[in-house]
């Protein structure tokens, strides 16, 4: 097996891919968002419970490859108890990780465990697998903004 493959399928990814965390429907979610990748048929639903501008719970359901499952699992782990504004930052940092050739050390440190997904950089067609749950998250966050805007 070559280095790129080894980097893509790290143990953490295999583990989270096979045994995704937070893999369930959330009771009374504040936000539900579907993510769909028509190219490969990966499909997931992200559930968020938000209170006081903070993500107090996150979960997901769906079907997909190891990368998208692991990405969703790791993301939901990380964003629990995170303020909405920070989740936005995290989204940007993750985008940077998977699309930039050499993401800065600061970003890597900030992302921590999420950096295991950086291996997709060498597999252009797989980047969308890693970003699928993140785009669902982003859509939720944008909805929050809209609602805040509309209530103001």
């Amino acid at each position: 097996m070559n280095d790129e493959l080894r980097a893509l399928y790290q143990e953490v990814i295999i583990d989270h891919g096979r045994h995704p965390r937070n893999f369930k429907k959330l009771d009374h979610p504040s936000y539900t968002q579907e993510g769909y990748n028509p190219l490969c048929g990966d499909r997931l639903t992200l559930y968020l419970r938000i209170a006081d501008n903070k993500i107090i719970d996150a979960s997901f359901e769906g079907q997909g490859c190891a990368i998208s499952m692991a990405a969703s699992s790791l993301m939901t782990e990380r964003i629990k108890n995170m303020p909405v504004t920070e989740a936005r930052q995290l989204f940007d940092a993750f985008q940077n990780l998977v699309t930039q050739p050499d993401p800065p050390k600061k970003i890597r440190e900030y992302l921590g465990k999420l950096t295991v997904l950086g291996g997709v950089r060498d597999f252009p067609v797989r980047i969308k697998c890693a970003t699928l749950p993140w785009h669902a998250l982003n859509a939720c966050l944008n909805n929050i903004t809209k609602q805040i805007v509309s209530t103001e």
């Binding site: 399928y9 295999i14 583990d15 891919g17 490969c40 048929g41 990966d42 997909g64 190891a66 697998c129």
Partner: protein, 426 residues
Amino acid sequence: MSLIDRSAEHSSLPFSKVDWPAIRRDFPLLTQQPYGKPLAYLDNAATTQKPNIVIDSVAHFYRFDNANVHRGVYQLSERATAAFEAARDKIKYFLNAPLREEIIFVRGATEAINLVAQSYARPRLKPFDEILISAMEHHSNIVPWQMVCKQTGAQLKVIPINDNGEIMLDSYRALLSEKTKIVAITHLSNALGSIPPVQKMITMAHAREIPVLLDGAQAAAHFKVDLQTLDCDFYTFSGHKIYGPTGVGMLYGKKSYLEAMEPYQGGGEMISRVSFESSDYNSLPYKFEAGTPNIAGVVGLAAALGYINTIGLDNIRQREQQLLNYATQALEQTAGLRIIGMAKHKASIISFVLDSAHPHDISTILDQQGVAIRAGHHCAMPLMTRFNVPATARASFSFYNNESDIEQLVQSLQLVNQIFSGKMGE
């Protein structure tokens, strides 16, 4: 020496005399080494590689014969036109079509089906009329009919398949009715490899005077198609799936139907006289060939058909059945692998899923081992739903593939199993 140097185009060798390794060498792309590994190209159902004779014929056309067709009254244009029209004859013989003017050049199978949907079905269908397709159609033999249904109020009915991926003929019989206005079915499923009993199905439809379109996008490259025996009313294939160029394909339609149909597109070539008040349409086949066609593509397609004839479709079929059997046995011995589609009549296309890994992950790992397969829904999403899988991995074989391609596939699948069982070691 390669087979293509033989001049006797229509008298192919006995099977035992065919030099398959030499034939493989006719395909220059196959010699490349992705990631330093030999290329095992097993995505032939998506598109086939091109033999030198096809590549050379396209280049030759642009170097020496390029001109527009049916227009110029100079030698060059006459030569281009002659090459273009000779290709039409070649297709007629290749498919044993009754008449040359029943062969229409199009972009591919997709355009052909849209043409029939819009020019044949749309003006004739009324609300509650029915169009019959099968559960294993490619999206290009689903969506054009859905569009017609939307336009006319007709309804799309689907012939079910059993768990092996075979058409359920009793259900088909039950679905055929006076409401059925056209039957459109694949001649070979791109996702499962099943070959439906089209001859029977055509006879059953004709007993009720219902026309039948066969989608031969996959079939034409794998076995002999005899349109006069089949007696279907429309047939189509794409050049790129039969060792020819992309962007060219053909529609066959019975003359009686084609003559009664309105043109699909308007423009140059499809008219005989134009004034601002009205235009007279040209005769067949030109009525359906508006605009400058893909002339070089047509020339390349003719070269591809000539090449296939030198090998012989019976030889091709026999070789591909060997590869299908070899691969089926090897895959069945791979741990956790399940083949989707176990029809009794199959061509060399195998869809499968693996317990340990998603098709997308399989495909990425295989790619790094030099093995090109397809992962996904194969443009047959309803079929994936039917088998309750989100996607499959698919290996599809051509006569130029060989047993070592299959070994490479199987070994790479074992690597997938290792990676996903966590037994890789660091």
